[in-house]
Amino acid sequence: MSTNVQARRPEEAEAAAQLPIVDDDPVTQRFRVHRSAMTSLEVHRAEVERIFAKSWLYVGHESEIPEPGDFVRRPVGGRPVFMVRGVKTGNVNVFHNTCTHRGALVCRQESGNSKVFQCFYHAWTFDSEGRLKGVPDRDAYAGGVNFDELGLKRVARVESYRGFVFASFDPDIDDLPSYLAGAKDYIDLVVDGCGGSVEIVRGTNQYSFAANWKLLVENSFDGYHAESTHDTYFKYLVSIGTDLRGGVSGRAIDLGNGHAVIEYSSPWGRPVAKWEPLFGADARTEIDRLRADLVARHGEQRAHAMAEVNRNLLIYPNLIINDIMAVTVRTLYPPAPDTVDVTAWALAPNNELASLRHRRLDSFLTFLGPGGFATPDDVEALESCQQGFASGGVEWNDISRGMGRVPMANDEEQMRVFWRRWQHQMGTAADRAGVQ
């Protein structure tokens, strides 16, 4: 590695790269990404500092912790944190999962309900609002320790939008609604389409594979790959009676701040609220009712967008919400340049008819799940790309599809939106003169 990270001064962080990794040329309609973006350890380290420490990152959904004292723990941006609903305030608290005494994890179960969190090492005890409540043999301490200041450390910023809880390690970041920009409306479409009240379904997909995380960002809203990569999945859909002749057509939209979406017509059924024969006659009545309810509440145009239109949404940098034949909420994190940790959940309306819930989960696991008929082939494709990069000889990935026209859903404008923001946030750290 030839990059000299130490030589960069902090004030250079905002400066533009002279030789940017993202080569965006609107005049010649060329858009290329230098492959070092996916392979360089320096780029990876800079991403941790400049992107994951400086963005709003999805923590979890409020429905995961409905009752006071309910908690879940998980890594966010690679750091162990836990989210707990305060017993006293009812607020969603997100704490660094580390004892203020010597550092051990204070929350060591994946989920549960507790009024207190006790570090087992020296038995310091904190309540669900983070206050330090118990220190064994407290009298042994002299005046130099202020126990009032040794409550659990909150993550610098925590805000939620429509039940989606985000945190940021950057105390100076924009408020969440400003940050989400145009993505808010698409979260609204998902949540309002579900009748305004959603929940995370029990059962989590946690898998990792040997590819750079940004390849999965691209793949999560790549309409162009579907036919070639997922031939076996579409054959399966046809074999069970789904009529794919309607095809997919739609557009890509820049939602600001690096967020983007593709929205497109749905050849397959959607549990909210597009019936297909596969759903069975009984479900038709319920789907008709759901759709009529959406029209009554939101008008025909918006109801159509909720019921019959798919959307693959990126909330920059690493949250995917794909509202297709089921809804997935998926986060990505790179523990290394060539590894991505994926955590994915199914989101569904509260009080969903049992048969529709079952169909939704069927569709989720068959297309979106790591045991299904599509995701393993995406994993293979992205690992294959990463292996191909190691061959060298070719320096650039082409991301220019659709630059000469109004971007369609199977074009790549949504990826360009991501990459432009990525380049801006990385600044000189994404300068290929300094990266190998």
Binding site: E110, Y207, F209, T229, K235, R357, L361, L365, D377
Partner: protein
């Protein structure tokens, strides 16, 4: 265990073990069409999520929840050249042990067993560890599978990436 003498019990377990070994051999040989013949038409093949091993496909997200139609589609897919994750196929080694007949008092007998499934492909290895739960129907002196359920002991799929093979 109800009304089965110890000797019969041992004999039954031996029969079950031989059946499960034969099933494992079919999977390792990628003889998936023959493997599918072991299943009844109303059979299920289930793999719950790692964090919900007791998952119920009616209301919990599963990794795999195949009825016979989808199981057939899985076999068709894996036999094709377009299941990219499994073309070319992995080498696998399905190991079955700690076999225990839980209930043989009905036509359908309940069996649990431990498994390790090793998967090797393109220089990489991965290992799935867990417990099988079978419901087997007696059939012409042998068995047919009514349910095969593979509950994983790994806390997540980070070490294996996916469940593209059949466990």
């Amino acid at each position: 265990m109800t009304a089965v003498a110890p000797r019969q019990q041992a004999f039954l377990r031996q029969q079950v073990e031989e059946f499960l070994y034969a099933e494992a051999a079919l999977l390792d040989a990628w003889a998936l069409d023959d493997w599918l013949l072991l299943f009844d038409r109303d059979a299920k093949y289930e793999v719950p999520c790692n964090d919900a091993p007791d998952g119920d496909p009616a209301h919990d997200l599963m990794l795999i929840d195949d009825n016979y139609v989808r199981l057939t589609a899985r076999v068709t897919r894996l036999n094709s050249r377009r299941a990219h994750r499994e073309y070319p196929h992995s080498r696998t080694n399905h190991q079955v042990f700690n076999v225990s007949v839980q209930d043989a008092s009905h036509d359908v007998i309940s069996v649990t067993a431990s498994f390790t499934v090793w998967r090797f492909r393109a220089g990489r290895s991965s290992c799935y560890v867990g417990r099988y739960r079978y419901r087997l129907r007696r059939n012409d002196g042998g068995f047919r599978i009514a349910l095969k359920r593979a509950e994983l002991d790994m806390t997540d799929l980070r070490s294996v990436a996916d469940v593209a093979i059949i466990l």
